[in-house]
Amino acid sequence: MVFGRSKRSGKAAPAEPVTLKILVAGGFGVGKTTLVGAVSEIKPLRTEETLSEAGRPVDNTEGVEAKSTTTVAMDFGRITINEQLVLYLFGTPGQDRFWFLWDELAQGALGAVVLADTRRLEDSFAAVDYFERRGIPFTVAVNCFDGAERYPLETVREALDLDGEVPVMLCDARRRESSRDVLVSVVEHAMHASAQAAAAAASREPATT
């Protein structure tokens, strides 16, 4: 119970930090948490979120109420850009069939990384599809596993049926610089996409301002 506290006087609050998030998606075991860990200033933390959504056909739930609830674990890390700017990275270990429940996490995301493994490219389809449909800018990063065959990036782009604007790059999720470059690409792509959206909006409504 937290009643009966006296009103505190207002004060000049210092400027509050802006927080941003980037999602790291991809198939099971593709290296999401590794990528988060490579660039995060903290050891990746895990938290759990209970998601519920009415009436989505998840499993065969005949005889069970239509509302489905699932617990999704998230690994996340933090990069403090400066005192006023903190970037959080969220990765999803496993549970990829629950991607469609992730609207809440995706809300307000600056952009996303789709990590791909060329040996099981089909595991990335769900994530690509998800971000495309929601208009969230993303970069596809092919994690170069030891022993996996290297394919030209254009082949990957074709296999994933990506728009020409979507950046596709190789990375080694274990390496800090490599993972950092992937994040830079996401932010650059987001910046580009928002500039384009602004230009499109301006051309649609001429002379309103």
């Binding site: 119970m1 937290v2 009643f3 009966g4 506290r5 009103k7 505190r8 006087s9 004060k11 609050a13 509050e16 930090p17 802006v18 927080t19 941003l20 998030k21 660039v39 933390l45 895990r46 938290t47 759990e48 979120e49 209970t50 617990t71 998230m74 996340f76 933090r78 990069i79 850009i81 400066n82 700017l85 903190v86 970037l87 959080y88 969220f90 809440e104 996490l105 809300q107 307000g108 600056l110 800090r176 610089e177 950092r180 994040l183 830079v184 932010v187 650059e188 987001a190 910046m191 928002s194 500039a195």
Partner: protein
Amino acid sequence: MKDRWFDDAAGPVVRPYAMTRGRTRSSAEEAPLDLIALVIADVDGEEDVQDDHSLAPEHVDIVTYCRRSSLSVAELAAELDLPVGVVRVLIGDLVKAELVHVTRPVPPAELPDESILREVINGLRAL
């Protein structure tokens, strides 16, 4: 506690929502708190929360963490090892009690302005 039957593997002894007295939503917040909303301890609320009997131990933990440095909702949930939903309700109580306040992240469907994005890119490159 490790040598007794209720070890970590047995799951929590207190069900998470007992801490929120069965509430799954905070009454203080119209929209659920974003995972990256920062919880900031109110500076002039330096009184000892340990002795505040209106607060649950988990409330006190949150205030104590946030007084050290502002933490996001996600970080608090991980630190306290509680589901995000529970932590949201507890933070809502503390907001009401004016012990903490919460930052609003950039609203959905609205990207931060270009200067912020440039700052992020430069910050990442400097890593």
